[in-house]
């Protein structure tokens, strides 16, 4: 039983983790950078320790300072949240060697899925199809051209160390391939410290379907259904929903197949704790493995709402050594949940980030509405971190019900002082194709190209 947990993160996910700990009667320790001194997670935690200046590299990414804080506060475990150090095997190892439990997969499991190329190889061994592509990294122009010729254009050039939608380029012919290959390598080196890239067939009209898994330390692994995250802008997710309209409307039997494939991959990696296995599904219902996210994800609430399972609580319990109390047959998906990410960005100005002080804040409520946020009236959003200020999750008895409720909730949402993407989310909710459930990852691009500005009202 953990007595104290340190939350090595900030913002809405830190608040989420602190709440889960409180419900388990576990004391919480927040760490914060100087600019986050008035942040909600600092106020909610039982104890708080300043770990550095605003820059993440000076604070939330400083393993030494986080461990020092953990020791000074005498914690039993650290929850890394998402991003930051959550998928850093070295950090997990340091925790282990300091006798602090890392709430997440083991360093060994992380290393088995260390980068995208390695994961592809593991998936293949587990008998799961991956998009046609290179075996491992592509190290020179000649190899790149040969691979592209073999699999056929269009192709994707992807950084092996990339994540969160970054480090990907499309090429439609030899010329763009060569140019993209070199640029991708340079960018990857700069952004991830690893220039390795691999090449994959680009699947037209792809649907991004991911499977939530939970694995305990006794070898039991279950899946909790899928989330459809195809609504993205520049590879950043905007809206997620469960179940996937594609699977519900067209490919009912696929859920079971993809779920089993996800479990096979997790078994091959000896995975423990919570994770998400990402797939691409094409219009014909073929599915291909993309990668494993070895952490709790931003959009986890959507799965929680349709399955009734508290995923962060499950993470903590698994880390405490408890066996999973539910079996695959106990997992039932009921109703429909949609999540809209709310970012402090100006949708009318190419989504430019809009940090600053929130003046008025009234968040939606009522039946079937869940807000996950750290924002409040008077809070100043710092410019140093990502622009997401909250997640609005809505549940309905079916998809239509959920969409109507999301419309109602977005209409109630009032934030002044900073620009937000609330109006843009409203435009998507009212889009006929989204409402029909007919969309793939190029949806947002098409919507912005069509510029249905009359549907987007500016809230003052």
């Amino acid at each position: 039983m953990f007595e104290k947990v340190l939350v090595a993160n900030r913002g809405e996910i830190a608040v989420r983790i602190i709440r889960a700990c409180k419900e388990l009667n576990i004391r919480t320790v927040a760490v914060y950078s100087e600019i986050d001194a008035n942040s909600m997670h600092v106020q909610m935690a039982d104890e708080a320790i300043c770990i550095g200046k605003a820059a993440s590299s000076e604070s939330y990414l400083r393993i030494d300072r986080i461990i020092s804080a953990a020791e000074v506060a005498d914690v039993d475990a650290i929850h890394p949240g998402y991003g930051f150090l959550s998928e850093n095997a070295h950090f997990a190892e340091v925790c282990e060697s300091c006798n602090i439990k890392f709430i997440g997969p083991s360093p060994q499991a992380m290393n088995a899925l260390s980068d995208k190329a390695v994961s592809r190889a593991l998936a293949k061994k587990a008998g799961v199809e991956t998009p046609p592509g290179s075996e491992g990294t592509v190290d020179n122009e000649k190899e790149a051209l040969a691979t592209a010729k073999k699999i056929g254009y269009p192709v994707m050039i992807k950084a092996v160390a990339g994540g969160g939608g970054r480090g990907m380029r499309i090429a439609h012919n030899d010329i763009s391939l060569v140019k993209g290959f070199h640029t991708a390598r340079t960018e990857a080196e700069k952004a991830f410290g690893n220039a390795g890239v691999y090449i994959e067939k680009f699947i037209e009209n792809p649907h991004h379907i991911e499977i939530q898994i939970l694995a305990d330390t006794k070898g039991k692994i279950i899946h909790l259904g899928e989330r459809d995250c195809s609504i993205q802008r520049r590879n950043q997710k905007l809206i997620e929903e469960s179940p996937s309209p594609l699977l519900e409307n067209k490919f009912r039997k696929l859920r079971d197949k993809i779920g089993k494939a996800a479990i096979r991959i997790a078994e091959a990696a000896r995975y423990t704790n919570a994770g998400t296995v990402e797939f691409i599904v094409d219009d014909a219902g073929n599915f291909f493995f993309l990668e494993v996210n070895k952490r709790i994800q931003v959009e986890h609430p959507v799965t929680e709402e349709v399955t009734g399972i508290d995923l962060v609580r499950a993470q903590i319990e698994i880390a405490m050594g408890e066996p999973l109390r539910i079996s695959q047959s106990d997992v039932v998906m009921k109703g429909h949940a949609i999540e809209c990410r709310i970012n402090a960005e100006d949708p009318f100005d190419d989504f430019r980030p809009s940090p600053g002080r929130i003046e008025m804040y009234y968040q939606p409520g009522g039946r079937g509405v869940r807000m996950e946020t750290h924002a409040y009236a008077g809070y100043t959003i710092p410019p140093t971190y990502d622009s997401m200020i909250g997640k609005l999750i809505v549940t309905g008895k079916d998809r239509r019900d959920a969409i109507d409720r999301m419309n109602r909730a977005l209409n109630e949402y009032l934030i002044t002082g900073v620009k937000t993407t609330i109006s843009f989310q409203q435009a998507i909710m009212q889009d006929p194709n989204f409402r029909r459930g007919v969309y793939s990852t190029n949806f947002v691009e098409q919507l912005l190209g069509g510029a249905r500005r009359e549907l987007i009202e500016e809230k003052t």
Binding site: I35, N38, E47, A48, E71, A73, Y376
Partner: protein, 155 residues
Amino acid sequence: MDLKDIKAIIDLMKKNSITEFELEEKDSKLRLKRGLNGGAPVPQAVEDSNPLMPMPVQMAAPMLGGAPAAPAPNTGEIDIKSPMIGTFYRSPSPEAGPYLDVGSEVGPETVACIIEAMKVMNEIKAEVKGVVTQVLVENGKPVEFGQPLFKVRPS
């Protein structure tokens, strides 16, 4: 670093309303402060919250009582602040006397205290020249990043 660079940095600071700038290179360190308040930089503080939405949740006492300080009254004193998280010790060993007391003279290279983290004893240098006017933390207490440890009247 020459005067031209320093002037350029000062201009940038003025233009972007930056009040404090610190740059450490291999063989030199530059710290520039501007504005009326010579004390600790003030992180964004929430002043009056909207009366309709009172600040939710009572403030959890920051663990070490070392929450980023309100602007220090302009006495001209400088804080020696903790550069790390750990346990604060005033002397090199339990039997030895403290490194510093009120009235002690310090120079940039003077060891002010030890902060212990993960079983490693780190000597913390004063990095200022002057006389200690206050010892702010008790021996053996935990300290966090940026926490003021001593007040020094610079000379």
